[in-house]
Assembly symmetry: none
Homo-oligomer: 210 residues x 4
Amino acid sequence: MDEKDCTNSEHGTDLEHLCSKAAGRPRSESARQAILVAADHLLARDGCGGVTMEAIAVTAGVSKATLYRWWPNKSAVLMEAFVAANGACCAGPDTGDVGADLLRRMRGMTAAFAGAMGVTISGMIAEALADPEAAAVFRAQYLAPRWAEAVDALTRAQKRGQIRAGADLEVAVDALYGAVYFRLLTGHGPLIPEFADALVETLLSGLLEK
Amino acid sequence: MDEKDCTNSEHGTDLEHLCSKAAGRPRSESARQAILVAADHLLARDGCGGVTMEAIAVTAGVSKATLYRWWPNKSAVLMEAFVAANGACCAGPDTGDVGADLLRRMRGMTAAFAGAMGVTISGMIAEALADPEAAAVFRAQYLAPRWAEAVDALTRAQKRGQIRAGADLEVAVDALYGAVYFRLLTGHGPLIPEFADALVETLLSGLLEK
Amino acid sequence: MDEKDCTNSEHGTDLEHLCSKAAGRPRSESARQAILVAADHLLARDGCGGVTMEAIAVTAGVSKATLYRWWPNKSAVLMEAFVAANGACCAGPDTGDVGADLLRRMRGMTAAFAGAMGVTISGMIAEALADPEAAAVFRAQYLAPRWAEAVDALTRAQKRGQIRAGADLEVAVDALYGAVYFRLLTGHGPLIPEFADALVETLLSGLLEK
Amino acid sequence: MDEKDCTNSEHGTDLEHLCSKAAGRPRSESARQAILVAADHLLARDGCGGVTMEAIAVTAGVSKATLYRWWPNKSAVLMEAFVAANGACCAGPDTGDVGADLLRRMRGMTAAFAGAMGVTISGMIAEALADPEAAAVFRAQYLAPRWAEAVDALTRAQKRGQIRAGADLEVAVDALYGAVYFRLLTGHGPLIPEFADALVETLLSGLLEK
DNA sequence: TGATAACCGAGACGGTACGTCCCGTCTTGGG
DNA sequence: CCCAAGACGGGACGTACCGTCTCGGTTATCA
């Protein structure tokens, strides 16, 4: 982190030399990439519990010591591999129709969670539950951007007057996302498009009789 | 399961002798209780990942073979210990005021999840994510009753005309519960009473501008 | 050790039950034998430094945990394997001629040390130098019996009047054995029959001019 | 070795330029000294097996690459550090009384071996047992001079007529030194002055009844 | 007076073995 | 037939050290 801030500093000042120490052989970027790729591959093939540090090392053509030099444990490697592969958060288009946009978003999410991504996400949450640091990474790198993006979309709709002024949009996103995660993690209901439809409809219209 | 069906059979018929093949020493009920108590205690103390079959056996004063004679693996023991300790599902009173009842329910849930119970539930879900059979037990013994109870309460309110006719109450409960589980499992927001309040308000009133 | 004393107790008293507890599955003697055989085999094939606990386990068809359950480390396993294979100390015949007997003994020793046994002994001493417990085993199980036997033989000759009364026979054996070990361990001279001859002659006759 | 032969060449001939290709920075003598000092210090503190190349490097304020640039492996460093610190072989005075001289010599040796030097020597022998090159260095740089010196002393006595003509003095020194090394390496007896006394007496007088 | 070549520190790298831990199975003797 | 005690095979874990490598930077000598 520190040296990244340093090298990325766009204003080359005299202070540069303070952090550009970097004595010794620099970290092998190729090894890092190979590890993340191997971890992601094994994650998809063997599931979260089936991945082994030894297997990652062998697959990546890397020594186990190198793994432990840069990541404290298996959770950390898997989590970084996951966010490296799934970090990008493609904001959907804002068509002006909050209902349609929300529907598209939630349908996409349920469809993804119903497939291979669902298995992977489950694994990452299991990992997060056992390791607070992994949890923090998952939250910051994967969850937060998507969540914020959804809140933003709702906020824009609210400013357009489509959503009532007093609504707590953050809690609303928790309810939308939470429902999907709930079904994913507990398996208590199917992740089908109709579920997304009903969920959006429920959130938008509310339960109370007018 | 099999012999349970047998011993629990309330109708003592002539068929009894078919399953009451209890030649030999019967299962020690005291050992079973000691195991469940020990598992629950260790679960609370060491967290889910920290519990060991060996530790359960020693704490319960029981041999490891006895554990594996009656449960197929660690998840099963922990899950049964959990539902034995937390199985009862006390339905709250139905005061006739949906909003107040729902608020009470969700506040209770968030408060519980914010405490020791939250840690335990997290552990059980982690266990469920790694073991489908444990997941089934968790769902059937813990989750389903509470979920059904909540759906029932909303259904009664709907019949009373407090909730609009077309609302999908099952999805609504998924959203309510899901939001709380979401925060519990991802740690992405605090489990405070205000969260319960906002959640109920959002679900009841909906997001759309009237 | 303790339970050995116990089971070997020839007088079956009431106290027997105190130590014949032996609860639990008894130690597998076949595993123990397989381990010692495997260790001895690997020792001969790969030399002392080349043996691996993992290799011993695999060769013996045994789990690594079983190794560490009964021996604290590699040295201990190797040492026990060594003494199990080379523990027997065949006392040579006492012909009544000290010189001849001594010569036969030292020639046999140098011949053995010049061959494969020399390599093995070197390894065991290296192991003993790094691990005091292994040293104690080597001393008690291998060295002491042979040394004592040699001292005894000299003592008998002394009683027969062939060796002068004041001679310190223990120190003499140290000199005889030490010289051979010295050449073995430092490689500073060859272990040939002539060396044994000269050594015995020197010790018997002494250096001083009469 | 090569460049040592070169720099040590006392006869500065025209050939000098062949090996004095010292284009570039010359070897840092201070680093070399620091390494040997550090190795010797760690050897005394942690014992032979406890010394690490990394530790030597850090202690000497030197990089690991520098170690491996000048020595092929750990044994070589330790051995050179040992002989650098203990290479000098102070020949004792030749008083004309071979018995007294021998006694003084062996008493000094046992006393030294009973102390810190004994631990160090043990370590070097352990190292030598695992590495033939280290063994050669130990033999040539440490052992041989002392051994030769002792043989010389005995030879002088023999020429003076104090020792019988036919005695094999080399074997006698092996017996004297070997006995002390034997006790040091196997720990089978104490290294006390009385041992030196008895040893010398035994060797000088021999065992046979006259 | 540079240029250049070998030095140096720092430290990451592949590799190998270590000793620990836990799982789920088994083998005893005893109730 | 149950139970306690506890040994067993299996397999992943995280650590430690080895000897090699790549950096950026530092000297002496040669051109």
